[in-house]
Symmetry: C2
Subunit: 315 residues, 2 copies
């Protein structure tokens, strides 16, 4: 079983990247799409994110054998209701949401008569919108499928083959376990980054201009993550609340321990932690999940591109 | 006033980069160096980090009119004592430490008869050791000087000119204010990164292999920071304790507020924070302090280099 027509609902970073990757890797498969925002549809047409942009969600999915909902987690139910009138009875419905238990429940409720296999490609950048997508976003990235117990094996295999064609490596996982794993590897890091950037911008003793100027000492990496789409992330925390709170509790306890070590001048406790965290970094590089070059290869700032990357004024 | 002979004590990332940058930008200035580790001295000779590598610290600084101590903050006093027998009476002593009040006190105590102007180039990567340095590390980066009240203006100017020649933009700051600014922009981000990587590697419900595999969702950026030199960072937290604890208190309070927002499902509070943090990112890009390309330009992983960056196995 393979798909002959794929419809993408929501044409931002993820939806646009799926369309562009399909054009590159699956040229024989028809693509159609829709976005709730007319300006996004217009831009998606100009960039050719999918072959056909419909002005109506039901029209976009008509004749499709795979529909992928690429909207914030909190908008999944609404998107499912919007496409329902146009869905073929045997069309598989999937998504790209960052939390899976909540999405599965919402989609099953909205589309009780359709096969649903949620998915989560663990890939992204801090950019969003119809200009953000690119065809290689999924290369060497994992895509996690969380099929319900009653899912047809042929459909799971077909969806896995689709993601592999786009460059991803596919894993199958229980939805609850997915939500716990991603709480650690993605949701908590985002929450921490948003929070520290907020803390820094609220200080009275240190100006915002100083925070910006001296950000190269570590802070700037957090600001990149904290530039991610606010609506998408609000929805993640609303929909993966329990796993996020559980992991946050562990992090807070560990931070309290480090705070005590600093207060008490316990250099050994610090050195122990700071040494063993290097092993995880080595694992990530060995698995090809990050750039091994120092500073992600951005060390030579003379090679930087883009109008915004002007050097600071010489004093 | 300019320097004709510069001695670098400690030949890791910072010391090595200063030597390489001098060779490129100040070819007329003599350079000498020493490191406490014989293996580092040997490697520094092979890479030509400085023109002359001495086997004795006093010998390394003989005839120098500027000595820069590039060792962890906690080793500054020891390094100062080691070079003291060779120091010319009019030699200026400086450093590159990440906290300035503690270093100033340690150096003034160790070298009571010498002019001391502490400095902090806000630049670095997660790498350390004699192979980590590169000549453009200070390009478009700030270097903060924290001269004592009694410092000679001509010496401050000469040290500023030295750093400008290496590509940095120089600012002068009170030591106490430096320590507060850097607590926010560098020390707390490192502490948080070390802690969350530690939390993730201690979980029982999520395996270390899973944390590594799915790190592209945000976690991997923290692991880069948490791969920084453990001894250097232990010393930073031991020596900038008060400012770090003060800033940590603010961050913890803000994190508690976000935890409550998640618990209570307060989407508005989340969306407000996640929206306003984007302004800081825009400021950092406009000031040329980070790479404006999505994902630091590492989005296309097919272009990655290095033996360690192998793609994951296809399942």
């Amino acid at each position: 079983m393979t798909f002959s027509r794929v419809a993408i609902v929501g044409l931002g970073l993820l939806g646009g990247s799926i369309g562009l990757a399909m054009r590159e890797h699956l040229p024989g498969v028809a693509s159609a799409g829709w976005d709730a925002d007319p300006a996004v549809r217009e831009r998606a047409r100009e960039r050719g994110l999918v072959a056909t942009i419909a002005d109506d969600p039901a029209e976009a999915v008509r004749g499709a054998d795979l529909v992928i909902l690429c909207v914030p987690v909190g908008a999944m139910a609404q998107a499912a209701h919007a496409v329902a009138p146009g869905l073929s009875p045997d069309c598989l419905v999937s998504d790209v949401g960052s939390s899976k238990q909540g999405v599965a429940g919402a989609l099953e409720q909205a589309l009780p008569n359709h096969a649903i296999i949620p998915a989560h490609p663990v890939a992204g950048t801090e950019q969003s919108g119809p200009d953000a997508g690119f065809s290689s976003l999924f290369h060497h990235r994992w895509c996690i499928l969380t099929p319900p117990a009653h899912a047809e094996a042929a459909q799971v295999d077909a969806l896995a083959a689709f993601w592999r064609a786009l460059g991803a490596t596919v894993e199958v996982m229980e939805p609850a376990h997915h939500d716990l794993v991603l709480a650690v590897t993605s949701h908590i890091p985002h929450l921490i980054a948003y929070t520290i950037v907020g803390t820094a911008s609220d200080l009275e003793e240190v100006t915002r201009s100083e925070v910006i100027k001296y950000s190269a000492g570590g802070f700037r990496d957090f600001t990149r993550i904290a530039a991610s789409d606010p609506t998408m992330w609000r929805d993640v925390f609303l929909h993966n609340r329990d796993a996020v709170l559980a992991m946050l509790g562990r992090f807070t306890a560990d931070l309290d321990a480090m705070t005590s070590a600093i207060r008490e001048g316990d250099g050994q406790a610090m050195h122990d932690l700071f040494s063993r965290t290097r092993a995880i970094r080595r694992g990530i590089l060995a698995m090809g999940q990050d750039d091994a070059r120092p500073d992600f290869g951005r060390g030579d700032h003379d090679e930087r591109q883009g109008d915004e990357a002007e050097p600071p004024p010489q004093s």
